[in-house]
């Protein structure tokens, strides 16, 4: 019983120490600013890239498939 009380008191004391000692640490403002700049430049690149590339690739595939079908049909007719 006495041991349980000791443990309870010790854990309470440890809890109090933790809440008194641990405080949030703020990053350097210049780090926050420079990372924000880098992220915003990076996100612009990420947002622009896929749309234009995908469109061109799809157009190319479409044109190639169309030409191939026409070629096959014309060969079938002549044969």
């Amino acid at each position: 019983m006495a041991n349980e009380m000791d443990e309870y008191t010790y854990l309470n004391s440890l809890e109090k120490r933790l809440s008194e000692s641990l405080r949030p640490v703020r990053p350097d403002p210049s780090f926050i600013h420079s990372l924000k700049e880098r992220l915003s430049q990076n996100s612009n690149v990420m947002l622009e890239k896929p749309a234009s590339n995908n469109g061109l690739i799809m157009l190319g595939i479409g044109l190639f498939a169309g030409a191939l079908i026409l070629l096959l049909l014309s060969r079938k007719k002549s044969g």
């Binding site: 010790y10 854990l11 641990l22 405080r23 640490v25």
Partner: protein, 195 residues
């Protein structure tokens, strides 16, 4: 009146920021970054104890988050849970690469004693803080995460449960085990808490 309503619709709030960021809105990215960067940095710093590495890992967390935000699925838990999970995984990688680990004197970087403390008391406090951190860093990653989220970030058990993907009951139990484990670690390094 209509203009005010339109401005209201365009305003970025905590609720709509993530959805808008997923749609590629750069202002929403900016809002999320400013809202979470200090908390994520603080969490990482306490886990690893080096300012330079904390900055490096914080950068990686946000690059990874913004690079994969299109895959983010809202499961009803706070967005911060996703960011903390990324940070947790990157910290685990950092620990695996243990050769790079260097301890930096913490009293230079933490908000330790208040200016009203006597010099002797201030010194005692910073030494005590160092011992506490040495003890905390001996715990398992889950226990460290819980203590930092609770005491540094001041989250409730329910919020910590959301972040760690556990129930509130599981967090209470983990918390109790973490305190007992910390007490054992502190005893090993000769720390005596005042009663």
């Amino acid at each position: 009146m209509e203009l005010i309503q339109k401005q209201g619709l365009n305003e970025i709030t905590e609720e709509n920021a993530v959805k808008r960021a997923c749609e590629g809105d750069p202002e929403a990215f900016s809002y999320i970054y400013e809202h979470y960067v200090s908390r994520i940095y603080s969490y990482i710093f306490y886990r690893i104890g080096s300012e330079a590495d904390a900055e490096d890992i914080t950068s990686r967390v946000f690059y990874r988050a913004f690079g994969h935000i299109g895959n983010y699925v809202d499961k009803g838990v706070p967005f911060s849970a996703w960011l903390y999970r990324i940070a947790h995984n990157l910290i685990a990688n950092w620990h695996r690469d243990s050769h790079r680990r260097k301890e930096v004197p913490l009293e230079d970087q933490l908000e330790l004693p208040s200016h009203s403390d006597h010099p002797e008391r201030a010194l005692e406090k910073s030494q005590e803080m160092e011992l506490l951190l040495v003890g905390i860093r001996q715990l398992s990653p889950d226990r460290q995460q819980l203590l930092i989220l609770k005491f540094v970030e001041d989250y409730s058990n329910a919020e910590i449960g959301d972040i760690m993907g556990k129930s509130e009951g599981a967090i209470k139990s983990l918390y109790h085990r973490a305190l007992i484990a910390l007490r054992e670690e502190m005893a090993k390094i000769g720390y005596q808490s005042e009663m």
